[in-house]
């Protein structure tokens, strides 16, 4: 055994305690209790590395990008553009010019619906989404369908919370123009078998947009291996700041797509007679972007890149397993979604306590969970619940957090006994 291999073997599987110290907010106390943050699926906390990078950028390098001939603008532009390359690597994408900076996943999906969608979808055509989509992967398509008099069709979910692939097969028809599907469900935690889904869609010539908002913080992503046409994610769920997200699209698609917002920075030349647009990705980035947020996203990717992904994934699997087992053993508790493969989140309801009351009581134990419909109202309807309690995990959570959650639910049951 080489020295390196021995060191790797001796290293603890994953040092959550050390990771936690890198997140200043985890030292906060809530109602006098240790903060147990179980709402990372809504937005993740930020490591000091990201906060410092943004601060340093504002203090030393800040200026607008792609504009000035002066040193600061050059430095800001270099910092901003270098993140494009880091995102490319993170996604396993072929080219950095396929990376479009947007505000977040929602904006990315709207961009594709309004640009790609509007040129591809006509009257009588069909857009396919799934029953487990977040509202942000439903509403932009609904708006498009309304405008084009096209039809929105929905791939159903089974009782466990897995997509019904045989139904997908049937729904992929001659009028299907695009399939929009999430990689990981933000409510059920379902990891969708994307490679298979993409293969099925491509066999019918249907391009696939993937909502990667919940997958990016947990799974290793390789858009070439997945084979999809578009992949969208948000920086703020990936330990970066709010305000910067990514749309990745195949160059051949992006090249053929018209701009969706007009303005500065996306043009070659403007006259009142004719405006020439810039090349991709700039054509899709009108106006001054959230430069510091993109720099922060770069720092988050650097930070993530230094973490042993396999070890972190094993740590998260351990937390999820303990949480689902611990919760499932509580009388009167029902898990909403028991998918074959799960990442990040576990949703549940209690027989005698409404999710909102549970959320308030857990908050007083220092535990932050999300309660409500999680922007997936059609999915709530599917499972016959108005709302759920959702605990979501990130690599900075630990077993103590899981124990606190399970004990917190016992406390809820005392109140509502």
């Amino acid at each position: 055994m080489s020295a390196g291999a021995r060191a790797a073997a001796l290293r603890p599987a994953f040092d959550a305690a050390s990771v936690r110290t890198e997140f200043p907010i985890l030292a906060e106390r809530v109602h006098g209790k240790r903060l147990v943050f179980l709402d990372s699926a809504a937005s993740a906390q930020k490591p000091r590395r990201v906060l410092d990078a943004m601060n340093a950028f504002y203090e030393h390098d800040y200026a607008n990008v792609h504009r000035g001939v002066y040193l600061l603008s050059e430095r800001a532009t270099a910092a901003f553009e270098s993140v494009r390359e880091r995102v490319r690597a993170f996604l396993g994408a072929p080219e950095a010019r396929e990376v479009v900076f947007v505000r977040g996943t929602t904006e990315a999906i709207n961009l594709v619906a309004q640009s790609f969608g509007r040129t591809r979808v006509g009257a009588g055509d069909e857009v396919l989404v799934t029953q487990m989509e977040h509202h942000s992967n439903i509403v932009p398509w609904q708006m498009l369908c309304e405008e084009k008099r096209a039809r929105l069709r929905v791939v159903p979910v089974d009782d466990r919370g897995d997509l019904r692939l045989e139904a997908l097969e049937k729904l992929l028809g001659p009028r299907t123009r695009i399939l929009a599907v999430t990689h990981v469900s933000n409510t059920l935690g379902t990891v969708n078998p994307l490679r298979e889904i993409v293969r099925m869609a491509h066999a019918r010539g249907v391009p696939v947009l993937v909502d990667g908002a919940q997958a990016a913080p947990h799974l290793r992503i390789d858009v070439q291996e997945l084979g999809c046409d578009f992949y969208a994610f948000s920086g703020h769920k990936l330990f970066g700041p709010t305000g910067a997200g990514v749309l990745w699209g195949r160059a051949e698609h992006l090249e053929a797509m018209p701009p969706w917002q007009g303005g500065g920075d996306m043009i070659l030349s403007v006259s009142f007679e004719k405006t020439l647009y810039r090349e991709i990705p700039y054509r899709f980035e009108a106006g001054t972007p959230d430069i510091a947020a993109v720099v922060g996203l770069g720092a988050a990717l650097d930070w993530l890149g230094e973490i042993d992904h396999e070890a972190a994934a094993a740590h998260e699997r351990d937390l999820l397993l303990r949480a689902t087992e611990g919760l499932a053993a509580i009388p009167g508790l029902r898990l909403v979604g028991t998918p074959r493969e799960r990442a990040g989140v576990v949703s549940f309801v209690l027989a005698d306590a409404h999710p909102h009351d549970v959320g308030t009581i857990l908050d007083h134990e220092g535990i932050a969970v999300r309660t409500g419909h999680h922007c997936t109202q059609p999915l709530m309807e599917r499972f016959g619940v108005p709302a759920t309690i959702r605990a979501s995990f990130a690599l900075y959570n630990d077993r103590e957090d899981v124990n606190a959650l399970v004990a917190g639910i016992a406390r809820v049951r005392e109140v509502f006994a």
Binding site: D352, H356, T360, I361, H364, Q377, P386, V415, F416
Partner: protein, 149 residues
């Protein structure tokens, strides 16, 4: 923990478990839907209004303990009251639940509704407590629906 006990006190838990007037009154001539888009709580409030007096009132729907108990307590409090009395009661109730946390508040005149005063310590939950009231007022004013947004 004290605030939590005050929020989920026995009366509230009891009304949550066994809501009063949890039905459509046979003589109902006013009705409105209430919706809290934030949490998905939905309820319907029915009233029998006769010559400016609320002869009967009831509600149906689903929601958290606070919204259910508040609706239940409201139906008991407003039954038999005139429109003006209902309005005064609402104003008093609204003032209490939206008053600043951790400061004493005058609950006189609220009767049993005072058990909901603890809601003021939970700003995120005030809308749960007021949903039924907004819906009742919508019904009485001839509007079809009320929303807490």
């Amino acid at each position: 923990m004290q605030e939590l006990r005050e929020l989920y006190q026995t009366v509230i838990l009891d009304h949550n478990k066994k809501p009063r007037n949890f039905a459509r009154p046979p003589g109902a001539n006013r009705m409105a839907h209430g919706h809290n888009p934030l949490c998905g709580d939905k309820l319907e409030v029915f009233a029998e209004l006769d010559d400016g007096v609320l002869r009967d009132v009831g509600f149906q729907g689903s929601g958290c303990a606070i919204s259910k108990a508040s609706a239940s307590l409201m139906t008991e409090a407003v039954k038999g009251k005139t429109l003006a009395e209902v309005e005064r009661l609402f104003e008093g109730f609204h003032r209490v639940v939206t008053s600043e946390a951790r400061t004493p508040v005058d609950v006189s005149g609220l009767g049993k509704l005072k058990v909901l005063a603890g809601v003021r310590e939970f700003p995120m939950r005030v809308k749960c407590a007021t949903l039924a009231w907004h819906t009742l007022r919508a019904a009485l004013h001839g509007e079809e629906s009320a929303s807490t947004e």
